[in-house]
């Protein structure tokens, strides 16, 4: 179904190139592996995650909870608590600098100024004993931009920019006096105050009411245009990504299993997991009234099966197994699925997926 | 997970905690001492010998003698019996009252809960040491009175604990199921809820025994607790205070015994807490 592009898998292939234009890569995550020390021993959370972003680009990072989206984001911010977290390999380059080689002091300058982050829970993400204004103003003073007084004024300005109603009064209020939507606006003000070139938004609307969700996404879109910043949008909701992200990466069990320009990903998903996700979107299946769902459950990170992490739930793998067991085929065509973690393969320019089955089907046709 | 394997699991985790094991060993040591005092000292704890008043530690009197020439080691060995039994009995009384109040308040809720918990609040308003001293002043100091008084002034924490557990347990499926099958209130409380609160109670009880031993020794030290000639670790220290300038051994050893025992119970209690709920470890 997908023709052409039989290039060998190559890490650099993950980087989007715009032909004829030398764009600077803003962020490159290379082969990132992270594990956690737990009571039951070491648990791998990320298995060689690689992707890169250009300045001003928006990438959607999509996956079920526990798949490693937030861990990826926190790794970029270098905010994973260690211990228990441990980086097993890979690097993260931001504007050509290796973030993990920076001293903590330099990293503090990067955080909030060049890369900033907003979190899922506006309810708990703000300090309950400081006013909202103080918390926004703190960004300016912490980075030595200006004095306290001016910071307070700038904070009000920023609250106005994120369309906080009555910003002068709200700046003097505490987080608990505000609604979730207002708090998330304040969080956005905090994150954007120093015009970072990369914003990481970790499920920014998940905890909000549906109507508020749309408002916050609209605000983020507006801010993105105005500040010309890149956005790494983390979500479990493909719908949110659909009209917001330039490119979308699908994560499953600590790996990126598919990555493509968003439009292409929605039009022609390659990885069976992505196909399943898209099929389970309401409105995606016109023929059936029942929402299809992916059979099986996500395995525990503590016991990830060998080979392709998706194989226990993969219909192609199951079908091949059945054919082999019933004697229909003499060899198990997809035995690689249980042996080897599939590498990323570029099926068409800029469209990568990690799947043995699709590679067989497309690669050998 | 079945109750049995959970218990075994807890015990295994406990046995891997060296501090908790050390605590258990200390407790066991003093228990053996309290049960078989003859094995630890051949002296009569009450034999007065005016020729040997305030003798320093020697081969004959390993820990010296007190102001009446009695052997300090012998008094401490027999004192262990008193101090430990006061600790146990007082804490059992406290647990008993706290358990019943907590179960009733948590299970029935509403007005019963409000009244009982208000009563707990009121009891907590009294500096417990003041209350204990006042009651002792009225009914007189005796070992039994001391045990009872420490017990009835120390149950409030257990009551709050059991109430909180009961509140959450009574909504759980197995309790709801039992109720649906027509089990009576008493049966639900004692058969279904009580066993599930045992772990936190055990922790509270272990720490509580330590607290009761401390209170008893303070009382006896002040001369309002166990009365001489009956030896208790606290009242040996009274003699230590009176002879502070000449007889350090009278102050050192009994206090050390109290300290080590209380430490032992505390370590074991904390160990049990960690073993029951490993998530809380180190908190």
């Amino acid at each position: 179904m997908r023709a052409g592009g039989n290039k060998m898998p190559d890490k650099d292939a993950l980087v989007k190139h715009i032909p004829g234009e030398e764009t600077q890569r803003l962020l490159t995550v290379e082969d990132l592996s992270v594990s956690f020390d737990t009571e039951k021993g070491s648990v791998r959370a990320l298995f060689g995650v690689s992707f890169s972003m250009d300045a001003g680009e928006t990438i959607g990072l999509v996956g079920e909870s526990g798949c490693g989206k937030t861990i990826t984001a926190l790794s970029v911010m270098r905010l994973l608590a260690s211990p228990p977290a441990k980086m097993d390999g890979g690097r993260i380059l931001f504007k050509g600098r290796d973030l993990f080689a920076l001293p903590e002091k330099r990293m503090c300058e990067v955080r909030g100024q060049e890369i900033s982050m907003i979190f899922q829970e506006p309810m708990t993400s703000m300090n309950p004993v400081l006013t909202v204004g103080e918390q926004v103003a703190e960004v300016f003073t912490a980075h030595g931009i200006c004095g306290k007084k001016e910071a307070a004024e700038r904070a009000v300005e920023w609250l106005r920019k994120v369309q906080m109603p009555d910003p002068e009064r709200r700046a003097k209020e505490y987080p608990h006096q505000m609604s979730g939507g207002m708090r998330q606006r304040a969080m956005i003000a905090m994150a954007l105050a120093l015009s970072p070139s990369l914003l990481i938004a970790d499920e920014p609307t998940t905890a909000l009411d549906v109507t508020i969700q749309a408002q916050i996404m609209a605000l983020l879109r507006e801010m993105r245009e105005r500040e010309r910043m890149a956005v790494l949008l983390i979500t479990h909701d493909l719908g949110v990504v659909h009209d917001f992200a330039d490119r979308t990466a699908i994560m499953y069990l600590g790996r990126i299993v598919e990555m493509a320009p968003t439009r292409e990903l929605f039009a022609g998903p390659i990885h069976p997991y992505t196909q399943g996700l898209l099929a389970s979107l309401p409105g995606a299946s016109q023929t059936s009234r029942v929402l299809p769902s992916i059979p099986g459950t996500v395995p525990d990170l503590a016991n990830v099966p060998p080979g392709c992490p998706f194989s226990p739930r993969c219909q192609h793998r199951q079908a091949a197994m059945k054919r082999f067991l019933s004697g229909e085929t003499s060899t198990d065509e997809l035995r690689d699925c249980d042996r080897e973690d599939p590498p990323a393969f570029e099926f068409s320019p800029g469209h990568l997926a990690a799947c043995h089955y699709q590679r067989r089907v497309c690669g050998e046709s | 997970m079945s109750g049995q394997s959970m218990f075994a699991d807890t015990l295994r985790r406990l046995s891997r905690n060296p501090l908790a094991v050390a605590g258990a060993v200390v407790i066991l040591f003093f228990l053996v001492m309290a049960l078989f005092p003859k094995c630890f000292s051949e002296h009569d704890p009450n034999r007065i010998n005016i020729l040997r008043i305030l003798d320093p530690p020697s081969a004959r009197h390993l820990l010296g003698t007190d102001d009446l020439g009695r052997d300090v080691l012998a008094r401490m060995v027999y004192g262990a019996r008193i101090s430990l039994s006061v600790g146990f009995v007082a804490e059992s009384i406290a647990i008993g009252i706290g358990l019943i109040v907590g179960l009733l308040a948590g299970y029935y809720g509403g007005r019963a809960d409000a009244v009982l918990m208000r009563f707990v609040d009121i009891m907590l308003c009294f500096p417990s040491f003041f209350l204990i001293l006042s009651v002792v002043a009225f009914i007189g100091p005796s070992i039994w009175n001391i045990m009872i008084i420490i017990g009835i002034t120390g149950w409030m924490g257990v009551a709050r604990l059991v109430r909180a557990e009961t509140l959450s347990l009574k909504e759980r499926d197995f309790v709801v199921a039992a109720r649906a099958q027509g089990a009576g209130a008493a049966r639900i409380m004692f058969r279904h809820i009580l066993p599930n609160t045992l772990a936190p109670i055990l922790v509270a009880a272990t720490l509580g025994v330590a607290g009761a031993i401390l209170v008893e020794s303070s009382l006896s030290f002040l001369g309002i607790g166990v009365q001489p000639p009956t030896p208790s670790w606290g009242n040996i220290l009274t003699a230590g205070k009176d002879n502070i300038e000449f007889a350090w051994w009278l102050s050192l050893f009994p206090g050390l015994a109290i300290f080590v025992t209380v430490l032992g119970y505390n370590l074991l209690g904390e160990g049990i807490r960690d073993a029951v709920d490993p998530r809380l470890k180190g908190r």
Binding site: K105, V110, L130, Y174 | C125, S134, A210, L214, F221, N266
Partner: protein
Amino acid sequence: MGRYVLRRILVSIPLLIGISIITFVVINMAPGGPIGVASDMNPKATAEYRERLKAYYGLDQPVHVRYIRWLGRMAVLDFGDSFSLDGRKVWDKIKERIPVTLLINALSMSLIFLIAVPIGIYSAVRKGSVFDRISTVAVFTGFAIPTFWLALLLMILFGVHLGWLPISGLVSLEYDALSLPLKILDRAGHLVLPVFLAAFGGLAGISRYMRSNMLEVIRQDYIMTARAKGLPEKVVVRRHAVRNALLPVITIFGLSIPGLLGGSVIFETIFAIPGMGQLFYQGVMSRDYPLIMGILTIGAFLTLLGNILADVGYAVADPRINTERAG
């Protein structure tokens, strides 16, 4: 805010009534009632005295009338006359003793705050470090050491062997002859051991409490937000974590009042300090019932006051309560 304080005080009224009932029950618990013990135990209990007592307790009245009358007298701090030889009013005796006890407890609370809070913060921030381990051991030791025993040991060490510190009373015998700076020094010297001992139990408890609060706060989302802003870890701890972790400690200080009062009985007796604790001890030893009941009531009242102050203090410090909209 004013509303909150008012509400908090109103809520305490049933507690106050409860306290009075329990105190009343304790008085009437003695065999033969308050008069029985008075006449049995007190050599001064002449026929005339007994009549006075009878009138005081109103024993000819039914129990609820007696309670109400007794309550009325408590309200105006009339605890009756002491059984002791001087026969003074109980309230007068207590009144002159309270300042010393409050001074020592206030000093020891400040000491606890200044030492235990930083220890708790530092252990939490450096969880698992050598410092954390040592402080954990020290905390366990602190929990298990009987205060009166430690008092004895310190008396032996600093008073008897080294002779650095006085071990009895509030001032030396020659106090009146000293110059002012020496007078101050003399008083301070007498306070060192009692204040330290009064603080000792609290040190362990509060530092442990502060540590676990800090560990709890550090896991909160807003700490991650603060870090994501690019604040250095020091600022994150100082500005964001400590403030939140300190809030519950305010309450603990209020709640520690009964323990401190109880402890004052022990160390005031050991160090011969003329405070309320020593007075109480003397009252218990001589079975001076009016005095005992007076101090018990005052102690409970102070505890209740501490609880209210703790709640109000918490409310002042926590914007989640003090910005609560009325109604």
